[in-house]
Symmetry: C2
Subunit: 454 residues, 2 copies
Amino acid sequence: MSYIGRLYDPVLATDLYELTMAASYFREGKKGIATFSLHIRDYPPNRAYFVAAGLASFLEILGDFRFSGDAIDYLRSLGKFDEDFLSYLKSFRFTGSVRALPEGTIFFAQEPLVEITAPIIEGQILETIVMNTFHVETLIASKAARCVAAAGGRGLVDFSLRRTHGIDAGVKTARSSYLVGFLGTSNVLAGRLYGIPVFGTMAHSYITSFDREIDAFMAYARSFPENTVLLLDTYDTLKAAEKAVEVARYLENRGYRLRGVRLDSGDLVELSRRVKDIFVKNGMDYVSIMASGSLDEFALEELIKSGAHIDAVGIGTKLGVSADAPYLDLAYKLVEYEGKPILKLSPGKRTWVGRKQVYRYFDGRGQMSHDVLTLMEDKREGMPLLRDVVINGQILHNPTLDEARANFAEQFSSLPEEYRSIRPDVKYRVEIGEPLLRLEERVAREKLRDQLRG
Amino acid sequence: MSYIGRLYDPVLATDLYELTMAASYFREGKKGIATFSLHIRDYPPNRAYFVAAGLASFLEILGDFRFSGDAIDYLRSLGKFDEDFLSYLKSFRFTGSVRALPEGTIFFAQEPLVEITAPIIEGQILETIVMNTFHVETLIASKAARCVAAAGGRGLVDFSLRRTHGIDAGVKTARSSYLVGFLGTSNVLAGRLYGIPVFGTMAHSYITSFDREIDAFMAYARSFPENTVLLLDTYDTLKAAEKAVEVARYLENRGYRLRGVRLDSGDLVELSRRVKDIFVKNGMDYVSIMASGSLDEFALEELIKSGAHIDAVGIGTKLGVSADAPYLDLAYKLVEYEGKPILKLSPGKRTWVGRKQVYRYFDGRGQMSHDVLTLMEDKREGMPLLRDVVINGQILHNPTLDEARANFAEQFSSLPEEYRSIRPDVKYRVEIGEPLLRLEERVAREKLRDQLRG
């Protein structure tokens, strides 16, 4: 296997303790059915909702989850595992069931994003890859949705690959941002993998490699007459805009149109308005103005409020690392074992016991009003959010990215305005169903009593 | 190719514009030799130095940098590239040269981390993967070095995989933190790839799956008598410590020793001291106490100052996403083309022209005193930092991780204390060599004159 192939073996992408715990379960003959639940404990600053993402990647990994000979050899070399356990791993197949929020679903703190029910050893072995996969994709989808909200209908393109934390994060940023309505990405690999539209024209290096800026502009227009977006800020943005008019004229004479210009630094409000004036004055209102350079939802909102004339926006680093909130407090917890509800009491880390469902309710105008988190068996009238996606090891249905995108668009339109704000001061109401509340209290009482006994 | 294999094709992990620019260079017959320079523009908050990392990954990628048939087919499907250019890509091989800071080298803002000299089209095509690779590894190595500085000799283990931005970031976090002196990682894949020691024992889910905490502890001790670290905070940390004493007694009777206990929540200062007392009182001073749970260099410094009794520390999320500074202002700039120095004037984005070298100077006690950034041809006496690593497409030498680790350890010991502070208020002196300064000024004057001419 090549370096790159080995590098991304998702089966070994696990914390060692998942395997030591698995080995101990195996040795102790612990084969009971467990349910693990994945949820986000609380909101990072300025967040009032999350966007579910990561299920498609997880199902791809799960469908092919086998310990390779190379993996087994490596584990053997650690000297921690006996041959019985290693041959169990060799024949490992996931036989359990998975319930999950479809990608693009809007959800809230404390609500399960995924619940996995399987022999405990299987649910344990999957912990790290489940967390890693859902964490980054949900993080970025949630950040990207904020950019969409701030953009007020302007087209957004993901430019983040150069500063995402690795290639995997780059691909997942492109996918997660497209999921919530970005037009596309600069990331060619994401285009290849997911069929996402790819965008890109030129960088400063292209321009500086020519003696004169106009030479660079003209060379590019000759190479890509149908799709030229000129970068204006290498030397002097306004002078470059005048040169862009020349290029547009050249293209017009050949039956093409200059597609756009890009501003990547400086006072984008002032520059975008003056550049727009230049094109209007020259009868080239059609040239679209793209902005980029350290932008995020906060900068975008400010630009638009200040009257910048921007048609499209490239969003890079701050999206790709979710700069203002680079992680979520995501937890994967054992909530049921052999039919019994499970609770841990660690300070600040309480979880809701048992297998659960989330029901969503809407007001008269189709806007989301509140959710109810309750036990799975507490069937209700509202819209249930968790769906069966794997039953007894069989993957039922892995929605396409387009389906997920449509799901998000529909959900986002039913999320009341005050939650979509990029500085929300509201908290969505998640009621706890009576049966869940009662069970939780009973188990907590019992656990505390056990503790008092010692 | 499998999904996972395709997912990580580093050749397609590029911004589309690298390829459109390349196509335009190709069409225009622009084949001049270019030098691109990678540097960090400025320090994020609380940073006074960086640790170079990413070179090994980059050389692995470079050594196998070929456009696959699948990649070419995808690019053709975009309808942007002609067959001549696609066949050029098909036969693409890197023929240029690379000079770089060896991994583990301490460096500063404005200093080149890498310089690539090659036909412009080759240097351009590599831009995104160069940036992506060096960015994340340097980011994490620099963050991890801060943890090492704050730990005051205590052993550190990387626990970040569950919340890194994807698998790639997880592997790179494990490697980059080991590079700067971490003992190892929980990440099995990183262990497999780099031979890094792997650590891990149990999570809360293991304990809660048993009826009683003591049953879980005993089961684990039976499975791994030589390497048991008991997690104490599932219900009540101090009561769990008393149970750990029972387990230690059981192990002693069988000729083993309880290796340690781990505290993952609550008041770690108070708990660690009381847990330590319990072991001391029972003549088990040998049991080491590990802390984890939302730790970083800031929390660590505070814990140690407050007198926590901690022997080892697991550092997770905040390391793996470099939470207080999740990105670096890294730039890859064209600095020379066909022997001519190149400059762009974009506000706030000035770069130093030409091919460069960094010389380091030390004081009488072997401590770093200052660096000089100058043109390559301005040969000096000091220690040159950039080394030849690839010449005419041939990779010269890719140091091992152990060599890089030793390099860091040596460099770190010569970095004066005030820079190693996690809240430094000093700025390391990087002088600009006379010839570089003169050249920069000349080129800036010329560029401005060109601009005035229009």
